[in-house]
């Protein structure tokens, strides 16, 4: 190896290391902070590794506040949102990808336009609408808006996946007299399963991460979803912020997400490239 190559390698690995530290450090720091006893946590010169490890913060998150209820709320809301969004989205996506009809561009533009709505523009009216139907502080009151804001993404990515499937199988199904809906249900969807998983994952993550609607439509602590609960964690007094507990709660809910992302990274990147996605 010549010296030029050695320098190239050195610089490359140095840059990669910086990128890696940059991406992981805040998460790492949350883990470290959550494991420190308060005495080590509130130290002027924090140590990069926990000197003593305690799980006190993890216990307190569940005993001193209803965090398990918040997790359950998030699972129910994000889970049902994903299922409904995939159901409605795959119907629309199939029609757009495979059927001939007038006004296709108009329909797709309408659906895509919703993904660009600033959420805050419909916040007030949606609040009034949900209040009139007594849906504030209820699961449907959050699921309905979530289905509507995730549908554009679901439909867009799914129609891209459907387009790439071989047409011949569907055509032979049509000759056999299968209805369109049956073709979709028993032939197209199984073939598009990898696409459905990736899309479902993206939908789930965006519903799980949503903050503005959850903050506004869920106004009781036992109805909060995870992001709202963590953002509004309160200590014993107004001036005391329970940082150890906040970090423990953050680690509890982000670890599964991080693992999911690491497992499905290829699919997620494929899905993301198919239609740019908001975080």
């Amino acid at each position: 190896m010549n010296s030029k190559k050695i320098i190239y390698r050195f610089v490359l690995y140095f840059l990669v290391a910086i990128i890696l530290i940059w991406c992981i450090f805040p998460f790492y720091w949350a883990v470290v902070s959550s494991l420190k006893p308060d005495k080590d946590l509130f130290e002027i010169n924090p140590s990069l590794f926990p000197k003593r490890i305690t799980f006190e913060n993890y216990v307190k998150v569940f005993t001193e506040r209803p965090f398990h209820i918040n997790i359950w709320n998030s699972i129910v809301v994000a889970g049902i949102t994903t299922i409904v969004s995939l159901l409605i989205g795959s119907l629309a996506a199939y029609a757009i990808a495979r059927l001939k009809f007038k006004g296709k561009v108009v329909v797709m533009s309408l659906i895509l336009a919703v993904s660009m709505f600033p959420q805050v523009s419909i916040l007030g009216s949606l609040f009034v609408l949900l209040r009139n139907f007594k849906l504030i502080n209820t699961y449907p009151g959050l699921i309905l808006p979530y289905v509507s804001i995730t549908l554009p993404l679901t439909t867009w990515i799914l129609q891209n996946f459907f387009r790439e499937l071989p047409k011949e199988v569907e055509e032979s199904a049509a000759i056999d007299g299968c209805s369109r809906i049956r073709t979709l249900w028993s032939i197209v969807l199984p073939m598009a399963a990898p696409g459905l998983v990736a899309t479902g994952l993206l939908t789930f993550i965006s519903a799980w991460n949503e903050f503005l609607f959850a903050l506004t439509f869920m106004q009781r602590p036992e109805k909060y979803t995870v992001p709202v609960a963590i953002a509004l964690f309160k200590g014993a007094s107004q001036y005391e912020i329970p940082w150890g507990q906040i970090m423990a709660a953050a680690v509890i809910v982000t670890t599964p997400l991080v693992i999911l992302v690491l497992i499905f990274q290829k699919k997620i990147i494929a899905g993301l490239s198919a239609g740019s996605v908001k975080g």
């Binding site: 409605i88 029609a95 001939k100 990274q265 993301l272």
Partner: protein, 293 residues
């Protein structure tokens, strides 16, 4: 068979259209309509038609202009940093090195963590007494010891921009990387034979080939940055000159919903935000070049 298609298509698309009509389009029209009234969610305040009164009031509201300025500063700085850094990171992880797949996967982590939660993580790191980022900046002599970063005008906005850049840059890099991988290798080989050096190859091949990818990512990020809410709300609640349009809008709509007649006024601001973002959305759709059949 062929004749039935439009009818089937109609029924397949109907549920999607129904949901977005009720949950998105109807509230949007209601917001437009409400912006011409003065009213409150509290029935104690009478509902009155005020015409363009709310808009006139808005354009004389210095808090609105400050929020607009903050939003634009935030958008311009964070989107440019994210694009430039994202391009650089994409070029680095496009190279050949050990554990490349793992590094690319790790780059999805900042994107996957809910913004509200990662903002809390960062808020802790920016803590004036015990925050590790505060220590880091003190060591670099960027700030004086004991400076409350999130409590200082100017500094607080920079901290918020930093969090946004942290969250979005790796994601941007992955989008650009996908574009990089599509550039045919022959182009580079031909350029090498012609004697083009690395920098020439970058400006003559890589950059022009990437332009469509970058353009889409850029406009898309601009749309997102203009409506920024989560990170600002969690880090500072919009204090010390960090209030963006969305944060101010939520104050008007929700915090004052029952205590003053500001719901119509808030709706006017919602409309203004909508129009502002529509401009970019139209550019975005044009860039995507929707084509079917």
């Amino acid at each position: 068979m062929q004749k039935k298609e439009p009818r089937i298509a109609f029924w397949m698309i109907l549920p999607a259209i129904l949901v977005i009509s009720v949950i998105a389009f109807f509230p949007l029209f209601k917001t437009f309509y409400d912006s011409f009234f003065s009213f409150s969610l509290n029935p104690r305040f009478p509902r009155e038609f005020v015409g363009f009164g709310n808009y006139i009031k808005l354009f004389n509201d210095s808090r609105f202009w400050d929020a607009l300025k903050t939003t634009i500063i935030f958008t311009v700085i964070s989107v440019s940093l994210e694009t430039i850094l994202g391009l650089m990171i994409a070029l680095v992880v496009h190279q050949d090195f050990k554990f490349r797949g793992a590094v690319r996967a790790a780059m999805l982590i900042p994107w996957a963590i809910p913004t509200a939660i990662s903002s809390q993580m960062w808020r802790w790191m920016f803590n004036d007494q015990f925050g590790i980022m505060s220590r880091f900046y003190e060591a670099l002599h960027i700030i004086e010891p004991g400076t409350p970063i999130l409590g200082r005008p100017g500094l607080a906005l920079w901290a918020i921009i930093q969090v946004d850049v942290w969250k979005t840059t790796p994601f941007m890099a992955l989008l650009i990387l996908a574009g990089l991988q599509l550039i045919p290798e022959q182009l580079y080989e031909a350029a090498k034979i012609d004697g083009a050096n690395m920098i020439q190859r970058f400006f003559k091949i890589t950059l022009p080939q990437l332009t469509p990818t970058i353009a889409v990512a850029l406009i898309f990020r601009t749309l997102d940055a203009l409506r920024v809410f989560d990170v600002v709300y969690v880090m500072t609640r919009g204090s010390v000159g960090t209030e963006t349009l969305s944060v101010y809008n939520r104050v008007l709509l929700m915090d004052r919903a029952f205590t003053s007649a500001s719901f119509g006024y808030g709706s006017a601001l919602s409309v203004v935000i909508f129009l502002l973002i529509s401009i970019f959305a139209i550019i975005y759709i044009k860039t995507l070049k929707l084509q079917f059949d």
